[in-house]
């Protein structure tokens, strides 16, 4: 069992939890992920490692409530435990040897982008962070990003905070202004990563994306996480999760991510009903 040592509500639908998992904390690197099960009947879901504290032996996860499992997870509190917490899985993000990096995060993807931005900063790169949210209420981790970025750009879809527009608008503007990024890292919804990649391809800027497809084992055993990258089949859990964004077949990834949508919606509604009943 893995104890929840700390729970922090970042916005109405996004929560951070620090989980006690000393061995995972000891090895975790930015870009890697864990797989958890909330309870003994639970499904296995992958979540990217948002932070870790090797001394305290904790690993932080940040999740948005999107389905039955995250709904259940969100109902747990400090002192409760998770049935399973496996990791660190996947490869760490390559952060060595870059001078000037743009880290582009979208929505809850910012939670994953942050440790990567921090690591680039530690490795001596000049970090420009561009983060995008739907509106002001959903903004997370602003101060944390500022702390590790030379330049910070906040975008919201509705203009309720920062600049109105998409992260791609901000990125394109910076590139046009003459910013010479030797790497762009994009982490967020598939559609955002797709558009960032289309843009950077036009300008010839190397771009890495972090893929988070449906997974079961996370060790290369099921192939459920497979993607097409550069015309070849790759397993995101062992070959990734980071890939060259210009090579990823995003349309296929988006279709595969939607494979269980009807099931998920149903399960989510059931979970919500159950919790509603409990409250009554």
């Amino acid at each position: 069992m893995f104890k929840i040592v700390k729970k922090r509500v970042l916005n109405p639908t996004v929560t951070q939890m620090d989980i006690s998992a000393p061995l995972v904390a000891k090895k975790a690197e930015p870009g890697q992920f864990i797989i958890l099960r909330v309870d003994d009947e639970g499904e296995r879901i992958p979540l990217t490692i948002a932070d870790y504290d090797r001394e305290a032996g904790t690993v932080s996860i940040i999740f948005q409530v999107v389905g039955a499992t995250t709904e259940k997870l969100n109902h747990l509190n400090e002192g409760d435990s998770l049935a399973d917490f496996v990791g660190p899985l996947g490869n760490a993000t390559e952060t060595e040897g870059y001078r000037k990096v743009a880290v582009v995060g979208g929505g809850v993807g910012c939670a994953i982008a942050l440790p990567v931005a921090k690591k680039f900063h530690e490795c001596g790169a000049e970090v420009t962070s561009i983060v995008g949210f739907r509106n002001k209420d959903l903004v997370i981790l602003e101060e944390e990003f500022k702390a590790c970025s030379t330049k910070f750009v906040m975008m919201t879809d509705d203009g309720s905070y920062g600049t109105k527009g998409m992260v791609t608008n901000a990125l394109e503007e910076l590139i046009k202004e003459g910013e010479q990024f030797d790497l762009v890292i994009a982490i967020g919804p598939l559609i955002m990563m797709k558009f960032v990649c289309a843009l950077t391809k036009k300008y010839g800027v190397k771009t890495v994306v972090s893929m988070n497809p449906i997974m079961i084992d996370g060790t290369g055993m099921c192939g459920g996480c497979r993607l097409t990258v550069g015309g070849k089949v790759k397993f995101a859990c062992v070959d990734g999760p980071d890939f060259d964004g210009h090579e990823v077949d995003f349309d296929e990834a988006m279709a595969r991510a939607a494979m269980y949508k009807p099931f998920e919606r149903h399960a989510y509604e059931e979970a919500c009903n159950l919790f509603a009943k409990e409250v009554k």
Binding site: E43, D84, I216, T219, G220, M221, G223, G224, A255, R256
Partner: protein, 461 residues
């Protein structure tokens, strides 16, 4: 005088059109009377050819003699001398190519039902034995076992009985390897596997689940920092193969590993499971091994019309004969001598068919089986909305890539000598990780051999 009936006592089973809708065990097991009667079919021939057909040389005629006398616990003790998992092997061993293929009775008529008797004896013991396993006195030595499939479980059990402090590291959240994530409940009830694991725990073995060795800890760390003096790698051959044909990443295409894992490990067949699975209406399963049969029969139980597409003929089907027969009885359609060339998708990228080509058998290939060759111009489409690829698996490269100096074959198998010793001192390996996908009994045998070798190595020091 032996019972000269030409046929084995039939195994009672659930009726085919009942069982193809549920996940309960298909074969129900012999009664005491059926078992004792079947046991009298053994001729007790002096050469005991059946024993040499068994990968772990169970003393078959001896245990059968005890069954005939009604001494079932005695029979169990005979089997236990050589095998650690009789309740499992009695259910899943390919007896027709092992012990039973050597049975003298089998020359003219049906061989003695050795597998069925083994199963009976093991089940009888599990039901009646009251003696709890005793934890032996510790001998002060620590051994790590990676993987909790039959190889790892057997190695751990044998060492624990000698007093070793054994920890089994398992990547998944439950122990058992293929026995829990691959082989379905209707062939091998999970309660039987759980019982084996509980016995190990009672012997003092620590089972550490959620531990992916190579990620959370490396073999070097286990040995240098955690004080394990020897390591046994029983990590199996879990990496699924695909055909690399167009359409393989469409929605509705699964590897057999994924399909079976969702069903067996994650219990997706239960209506209230948190893990989803696609309930295809028409499912095509590609392949002809046990894995293909298991995937097909699971899909059938989820309500689909199921077709097995295999590129060779019935003769070459590598699955256990009983599984093929059961699959046929359950209404699974076999399209033999056909090979997929493309999976077809609709506008939403859902599978809507599979283009195949007819094959014919040509000259024998390296495996001695006649090589299937395409018949030009014979393409046709199989109507389906789900495709399961059961083409075989290979060892996962994770352990190799994180263990300095561990030699592997080109195809990924760990190099080990006849004792299971790898290219690294005090690091042993066995089971599918060494041989590639094989059988439960061979994995178990490798675990046993390595346990004996580890004991010798550590005690000799």
């Amino acid at each position: 005088m032996a019972n000269m009936s030409p046929k084995k006592n039939e195994m009672p089973t659930q009726a085919p059109d009942v069982r193809n809708k549920n996940f309960s065990e298909v074969a129900l097991g012999y009664t005491k009377e059926q078992a004792m009667d079947e046991a009298t079919r053994c001729l007790h021939c002096p050469k005991q050819p059946c024993v040499s057909g068994c990968p772990v040389q169970v003393h078959i005629p001896d245990f059968i003699a005890k069954v005939a006398q009604g001494d079932f616990e005695g029979a169990y003790q005979v089997i236990a001398l050589s095998s650690s998992l009789p309740a499992v092997c009695g259910r899943v061993c390919p007896q027709e190519t092992q012990c039973e293929s050597k049975c003298v009775r089998g020359i003219k008529t049906e061989p003695v039902g050795i597998g069925r008797l083994e199963r009976f004896v093991a089940d009888w013991h599990n039901e009646h034995a009251t003696e709890a396993p005793v934890k032996p006195a510790p001998n002060g030595h620590k051994v790590a076992v990676i993987g909790s499939g039959p190889a790892g479980l057997t190695c751990a059990g044998d060492l624990a009985k000698k007093g070793y402090e054994v920890t089994v590291f398992e990547a998944l959240h439950v122990a058992g390897g293929v026995l829990v994530y691959g082989i379905p409940e209707f062939r091998l009830p999970k309660a039987i596997v759980q019982k084996e694991i509980d016995t190990l725990k009672a012997l003092g073995v620590t089972v550490a689940t959620d531990m992916v060795v190579g990620k959370i800890l490396s073999i070097d760390e286990l040995m240098e920092e955690q004080g394990f003096e020897a390591v046994f790698i029983g990590s199996g051959a879990g990496l699924p193969k695909f055909m690399n044909i167009p359409g393989e990443n469409l929605k509705g295409v699964y590897s057999a590993n994924e399909f079976l894992t969702r069903i067996n490990l994650m219990k997706a067949y239960k209506p209230d499971s948190a893990t989803p699975i696609q309930h295809g209406k028409k499912v095509a399963v590609v392949g002809g091994g046990n894995v293909a049969m298991d995937a097909a029969r699971c899909a059938k139980r989820l309500g689909a019309e199921v077709t097995i597409v295999y590129r060779r003929s019935l003769e070459e089907l590598p699955a256990r004969r009983e599984e093929v027969e059961h699959a046929m009885e359950e209404g699974i359609i076999f399209k033999l001598l056909n090979n997929p060339v493309e999976i077809l998708g609709d506008d939403d990228r859902n599978v809507c068919g599979m283009k195949c080509i007819e094959m014919e058998l040509g000259e024998p290939d390296a495996s001695g089986r006649r090589r299937p060759v395409e018949k030009p111009g014979s393409e046709f489409t199989v109507d389906c909305d789900c495709v399961i690829m059961a083409l075989g698996t290979s060892p996962n490269p994770l352990i190799k890539s994180t263990t300095k100096g561990l030699e592997t074959q080109k195809w990924g198998g760990i190099v080990a000598d006849e004792d299971g010793l790898t290219s690294r001192k005090n690091v042993y390996a066995g089971g599918d990780a060494v041989t590639g996908a094989a059988t439960v009994i061979k994995a178990m045998g490798a675990g046993k051999t390595a346990a004996a070798a580890i004991d010798k190595a550590l005690m000799g020091e």
